[in-house]
């Protein structure tokens, strides 16, 4: 495990890198074509993964809580409990962590190998700003795609939960949907989905930063990928605490 000093140094470096993003994101020319390509790639790379995860979680949540709820004669609150848990916390966080593993590692490895094979230098020498071309596009793509994938995950998780509940008791899906959404406030729904945009930013900027900083060879590329996953997962969890705190202050 890396020591504390290198870790704080990395965080400092990561903040500078984020600052550079804030500066470069508004500069022309905008790499629209590459942005679309990245969004497409993120979607195709991780949609199935996210759906499977969501479904499994919905089923398990439903299985686990039904017994407990039944003991208190509160089986009827299952739909709202599921919806609250999935939409407010489990969906956003699990999706983001899964994507941190999938995309964070992928981005760090891709940019890292571009670095060691001098492709990033080649962009620079051709006066094609590598930061704008590689980093800005990936970060924006993640900011957009994380919430979309989270919505997909939430829907599948609720679907899975409903199907699981069906196995044990007759449950009309309209009743299920009504109950599920009755307990959710629009502000919760929007805030907890939108916060994954922040997680997307964290995962992408960390992956890019660790990839860009690779020096050496393939061994270092592998390490960068691993570290990007660890650091971005931790940062996502910490950011979640902060964001939830903020949302409680704003919306109660």
């Amino acid at each position: 495990m890396p020591g504390l000093k290198p870790f704080t140094e990395r965080l400092g470096d990561l903040s500078l890198f984020s600052g550079q993003f804030a500066w470069q994101v508004f500069k022309r020319p905008f790499e629209g074509r590459e942005l679309i390509r990245q969004m497409d790639e993120i979607g195709t790379k991780s949609l199935v993964l996210v759906l499977v995860t969501g479904c499994a979680i919905g089923v398990v949540l439903s299985m686990q809580s039904r017994g407990t709820l039944a003991r208190f004669g509160a089986e009827a609150v299952l739909p709202s409990m599921l919806a609250l848990a999935v939409v407010k916390e489990i969906g956003p966080v699990i999706t983001s962590l899964v994507l941190a593993g999938r995309l964070g590692a992928g981005i760090a490895a891709e940019l890292g190998s571009m670095r060691v094979t001098e492709q990033i230098d080649a962009l620079e020498v051709a006066a094609l700003n590598p930061f704008r071309h590689l980093v800005v596009t990936r970060v924006l793509a993640c900011i957009v795609m994380f919430p979309l994938l989270t919505v997909a995950c939430n829907l599948v998780a609720l679907g899975g939960g409903y199907l699981e509940a069906l196995l044990s008791s007759e449950l009309d899906y309209r009743l299920f949907v009504d109950q599920a959404f009755a307990s959710l406030r629009l502000s919760d729904l929007i805030f907890s989905t939108a916060k994954t945009g922040v997680f997307g930013f964290i995962v992408a900027i960390t992956g890019c930063n660790f990839g860009f900083k690779v020096r050496g060879g393939t061994r270092e590329v592998g390490q960068a990928a691993m570290q990007a996953v660890v650091v971005s997962s931790l940062l996502v969890l910490v950011a979640n605490v902060v964001l939830v705190r903020i949302s409680l202050m704003l919306f109660g």
């Binding site: 020319p29 094979t117 001098e118 492709q119 230098d121 080649a122 962009l123 620079e124 020498v125 051709a126 006066a127 094609l128």
Partner: protein, 245 residues
Amino acid sequence: MTNPDPQDVVVINNLHKAFGRRRILRGINLRVRCGESVAIMGGSGTGKSVLLKHIVGLIEPDLGAIQVLGQRIDELSSLDLDAVRLRIGYLFQGGALFDSMTVADNMDFVLRRHTDLRKAERTDRIMEALDWVSLQATANQYPAQLSGGQKKRVALARAIILEPEILLCDEPTTGLDPVSVRTVSNLLVRLQRRNMSVITITHDLLCAEIAADRAVFLHEGKVLAQGTLSDMRTHPHPMLKEFFH
């Protein structure tokens, strides 16, 4: 700076560069005239690639001045630096082809951004460049599908796609068979005839012999000797004697 001459495309004065405590370049002086072809030689790890990267501003010097096409590369803003970079072609030691793109897209990418050419014109230009390195057939392949020598030649084609005034080549012939060495070296000669100034890092005496007017030999971070290849052969320094025999 010692009397700047409009004829000089590259002038390097007293260039120093260290990485951490390792001093790689320790006072390099180099001058390349317009239309000249210079070979940079020297043992592995002496800092030849590092020197070449200073010329396009990929690495900043610790000390010294680098003037390229009349401008101080080490003092330019990034916008002005980009303008100079467009007049320089760079062939990386490993080719550095973008491996997420086909061979043709590798070149189209640069053309699309930096020229106003229409699609058909760009395609013509790409095919012409590929024809020139005899690799038209590879246009729709990905870099991973090419052999080492083919990659080098595609990278060379990409480096000259914007018709630069200066071409910097980092070991264009390393790892090639003797026939390909001749082919690539002759390509460099043809570029020089088009009035391109060429700086080539090479270990390859055959390549230097065919393509270079003059050789510069680096040793321990300094220019140990420079002159024609025959000057080098008769140089008394033991390092050069060993290198050229």
